[in-house]
């Protein structure tokens, strides 16, 4: 696979050409910031954008997704005809523009989660239809991010195309054959020349000093730090502050927990089983019949989230469960942050070696 | 021919509560004849004291689920006057648009669900739905349009969200406006059919000259702000509303009564029509002619005809407003700044579906409301309804009690004292399915 070059002013033409055959989405400006949305007019696409409220995960795992339709007698369940028919929602050829490298890391994790073990066809079918076009971050998007710490400041190998802005042009790396085919069919991109490559190398290496470290430890240490700090004091403090609002998980590109619900039409016969985003920060998440709650306290829920991000997900899927995108920090109204928590834990563990 | 008549219609009307008509005629003379209001007092004015000004519009919209946008608008205008707020042109346009949504919603519900069955002599909407299903479906379509219009501008009809002191917190997108425009254009056929239908109704000819009061504007058939106009030739600033309303307690009702130059006056669609018909859009004028409405009209039953005229006017005005907004483009605007000063007072007035509504607040330097007063249209109409009843009953004495009851109910309903209780709306669906 190879490197191409597309002058910036030809991007609109590329987008427009794609619109004929694809749903095109990308970052757009809203009244208060940016959001991934359908691109109706190529002008809407804002590739130089601050992190969005929701990551592009909403295209991979929609907030509300129908799993199957059913026809049943809901007034007297179990009786009469009972039919089910699977639904594969939003399986449409889609091109997502402008995915930051942190968010591509989130997608990489999703790809593992939904493919490993039981294969989730709802995700996989949709995934097959989504082309990811990444954009290289050359300056930090804001103070809340810590991608450099999490190793997500560089593009993971899940993209179809990856763009870097260099001297008024985009250099496009093709991450997949279909990505390359897409580029060639719908744009006027040319093969990059060796001086372009040189320029790209220089641009990429020049970006690192702009990004700062926020963690006091290396990310490889977080699993053991969290094991050690399981009974640390900070959890109580965080639990006391936490609003149990679930915002941190809803905005997170690596959170994928969901609830399953049945929705009935007014005729009480037809309906849908849907999955909707759920959050481990909510009281009901680990509640079982009989009233026992495995994570009754907010402290235990905050801890569980951190454990998942910094340890459990890595144990299961081999990747850390945090991309350092900083969304949860921006969403949290009581200032519970990943770097803040890990650093405080690190300090506490220094004071009490061995936890 | 009845010498002794005793009519007692319970729960006929609703003035944020319930109403009864009581008529007692003995030996041909009226012993008692009045509209009895048995409202549950809610004490909104008392509640507002000590609350931050920005809550007032959201609190007072809860006075009435039908006139919520009207109350909110009057409340905002009161606060804005007290806080010396200058509204942008865009805010004014959007407020008008939302207001029209509510005006349409209320008028459509009233004329179709209440008035039409009365006049077509089918008793209620049930037989209407069987005999004229198209009429009922049309009403539902038109009502849905008004609800959706409110939703696009202020979030919902009952208890609007996006209106705030100084402006709005949310703005309709171009697509929202274009979509509503398209639907308004489609609605015109329904509006024409409405005029056609009501043109065929035999409006009772009962007539009693009285004073009509409405908000007047130099160059438009407006509903918000303006001056208080009266058919007795007065024009007063809104801030002088107390001279007009002269609120009194009436012994037989928990709502307050009002009187201006005479013993009573009337507010509402007919009052507005009488005072400012020349500002109606051309199609509304044609509709008025078709319906036999001619200013000055002293026939209270024609209030419903005036409502039909206002439906025509509002739909045309919605089109105009949307065009203006599309042309200017709707911009995100922060609410206009406020100025706090000690003991600042402001009066807000709107002509809601049932007539003029006044809110007056005194707001302290800390932004908390110190004093509040709200005057609702039905309260102003009560005295006039009483006098109408007294004039009407003697002319009906040769009719059966059932007929008398029906005529009296119809009279009270024409005033639209508040739609919901006397609507037979639901029955439509019982039959329609």
């Amino acid at each position: 696979m190879s490197l191409y070059i597309l002058p910036k002013d030809q991007l609109s033409a590329f987008v427009e050409a794609l619109q004929a055959s694809f749903r095109v989405v990308g970052p757009t400006q809203t009244e208060t910031g940016y959001a991934f949305a359908d691109i109706v007019d190529p002008e809407q696409l804002e590739l130089d954008y601050d992190t969005t409220v929701l990551p592009p995960k909403k295209y991979f795992l929609p907030q509300r997704e129908v799993l199957f339709n059913f026809h049943a007698n809901a007034l007297e369940p179990g009786t009469g005809q009972l039919e089910v028919e699977p639904v594969f929602q939003d399986v449409t050829p889609t091109v997502i523009f402008g995915v930051h490298t942190c968010d591509m890391n989130g997608i990489m994790l999703y790809d593992k989660v939904f493919a490993e073990g039981f294969r989730d066809e709802h995700y996989m079918e949709r995934r097959d239809q989504i082309y990811v076009i990444g954009i290289e971050c050359l300056t930090p998007c804001d103070d809340a991010s810590f991608c450099k710490d999490m190793g997500t400041l560089t593009a993971p190998p899940i993209y179809d195309l990856h763009m870097t802005e260099v001297n008024g042009s985009y250099l496009l790396d093709t991450g997949s054959e279909r990505g390359e085919a897409l580029l060639l069919e719908y744009s006027e991109a040319k093969m990059a020349k060796s001086e372009d490559m040189q320029l790209l190398g220089r641009t990429l290496s020049a970006k690192w000093p702009h990004f700062r470290h926020r963690l006091k430890m290396s990310r490889d240490q977080t699993p053991s730090l969290l094991s050690l700090g399981y009974d640390a004091h900070i959890w109580e403090d965080l639990g006391e502050r936490c609003l149990a609002c679930g915002s941190c998980t809803n905005v997170c590109p690596t959170c994928f927990c969901f609830d399953v619900q049945d929705e009935l039409d007014i005729n009480m016969e037809d309906g849908e089983r849907v999955r909707v985003w759920d959050s481990c920060q909510l009281h009901e998440f680990a509640l079982v019949a009989g009233g026992h709650n495995f994570r009754e306290s907010k402290a235990s829920r905050v801890r569980h989230r951190l454990m998942r991000k910094g340890k459990y997900i890595k144990q299961v899927h081999g990747l850390l469960g945090c991309t350092g995108c900083g969304r949860c920090e921006r969403a949290c109204l009581v200032d519970i942050t990943i770097p803040g928590t890990l650093n405080a834990l690190y300090e506490e563990m220094q004071l009490e070696p061995g936890g | 021919m009845a010498e002794n008549v005793k009519v007692n219609v319970h729960h006929l009307t609703r003035v944020e509560g319930h109403g009864n008509i009581v008529v007692d005629v003995r030996d041909g003379s009226i012993e008692r004849c009045e509209l009895e209001i048995v409202e549950t007092p809610r004490f909104f004015e008392a509640m507002l004291r000590g609350r931050p000004y920005h809550q007032a519009s959201h609190i007072t919209s809860r006075i009435c689920g039908i006139c919520a946008i009207g109350h909110a608008t009057a409340s905002l205008r009161a606060s804005e006057r007290a806080l010396q707020v200058e509204l942008s042109e865009q805010t004014k346009l959007l407020r008008k648009l939302a207001f029209h949504g509510e005006m349409l919603d209320s008028h459509i519900l009233h004329v179709y669900m209440l008035i039409a069955p009365d006049f077509l002599d089918v008793g209620s909407v049930i037989p209407l739905a069987t005999s004229h299903p198209d009429v009922v479906l049309r009403a539902l379509r038109m009502k849905k349009f008004s609800g959706d219009l409110c939703e696009a501008i202020v979030g919902r009809h009952t208890h609007p969200i996006a209106m705030t002191v100084g402006g709005f917190t949310h703005f309709p997108s171009r697509e929202d406006l274009e979509r509503m425009r398209e639907r308004a254009v489609e609605l015109v056929a329904d509006v024409d059919a409405t005029v056609e239908l009501f043109g065929t109704l035999p409006w009772p000819t009962f007539e009693r000259e009285t004073e009509y009061v409405a908000l007047v504007h130099p160059d438009e058939y407006g509903f918000i702000d303006g001056m208080i106009g009266s058919t007795d030739g007065h024009e007063l600033p809104i801030s002088a509303y107390r001279t007009v309303t002269n609120e009194r307690l009436s012994p037989h009702s928990t709502a307050k009564h009002a009187a201006f130059n005479r013993d009573s006056y009337m507010v509402g669609a007919l009052a507005r029509y009488n005072l400012k018909h020349e500002h109606l859009h051309p199609r509304a004028k044609e509709a008025a002619a078709h319906l036999g409405l001619e200013a000055p009209c002293y026939r209270p039953y024609m209030n419903s005809a005036a409502q039909v005229v206002e439906i025509v006017h509002c739909v045309d005005d919605v089109l105009l407003l949307i065009d203006t907004l599309l042309e200017r483009g709707v911009e995100w605007e922060e609410p206009a700044p406020i100025t706090l000063s000690p003991g600042a007072r402001g009066v807000g007035a709107c002509d809601v579906p049932r007539g003029i509504l006044f809110h007056e607040y005194q707001i302290g330097e800390n932004g908390l409301i110190e004093e509040a007063n709200c005057i609702i249209p039905t309260g102003q109409n009560l005295g006039n309804i009483d006098l109408d009843l007294r004039a009407l009953v003697p002319t009906l004495l040769d009719q059966s009690e059932a007929e008398i009851t029906h005529k009296l109910e119809m009279l009270v309903r024409a005033y639209d004292p508040c739609i919901s209780c006397s609507t037979h709306f639901l029955d439509v669906e019982f039959v329609g399915k």
Binding site: G78, V84, F118, G290 | -
Partner: protein, 292 residues
Amino acid sequence: MLDATFNLSTTTTPRAFNGHTSIYLPVIATIEDVQVESKLEKVYDVRLPGGENLGHSPGQFVMVSLPGVGEAPISVMSSPSRTHDTFRLCIRNAGDLTNVIHKLERGDRVGIRGPFGRGFPIEVFKGKDVLIAAGGLGIAPARSLIDQIIDNRADFGRLIILYGARNPSELLFRDAMAEWEERDDVEALVTVDRADDTWLGHVGVITRLFEHIQINPYHTVAITVGPPIMYRFVVMELSGKGLTPEQIWMSFERRMKCGVGKCGHCQVNHRYACQEGPAWTYAEALAFEEAL
């Protein structure tokens, strides 16, 4: 990635639709029979289309659903050694869905997915003395194992069953229990937390039964199934009798929404109770900070 040990087999393979299959799609099964077991529990015999064998192992569960109401995990109570064209569930009326399930009758339909999870490794138990300590509704999943052992009695050493319920009226499977008590190759002991006039047997929490049994720690495996609070005390007793954590198996109940290791609800530390559990050894559980 995931441990290789958990069971990925699902006999009730979802139907294909346009070439897609969905792991969330239940197959429609029929209720062959319903018996009232106690005030709160009913036992259901369920038949998959065409009488297909569920192919479960003891300790596994299925997701039972009534479209329009919801879905819940329920352990399979029947032993794979007994019935092939139906399987049995014992369901407690514990909430929204189970309340509606309790209204179902013979001939009604339910959706079934599964079986899911890692059950008890019966092969590992062979040749050993097996001690089963079940509390409350825990006797239902245990029953699957018990019957399997009884049907292959020669393959195992002693079979000791300890069963506790809160009071006599909540005791399940009294007939089976009487049968087990009759047999001389089964040692069955029952207790209730609180006795009533009719009760002549043991009284006290389940751990009190341990006074009455002697085991050879070298030859025994123990399986415990019951409410979360029971585990700590049972484990203490078993350890006191010389069993190592590797010899003790336990079944975990967690909230479950998908049954296939995606929805996140059943996580115990990094592990999914619906896939790698619900059966774990105490040794494995010790590695979970969250487990007990």
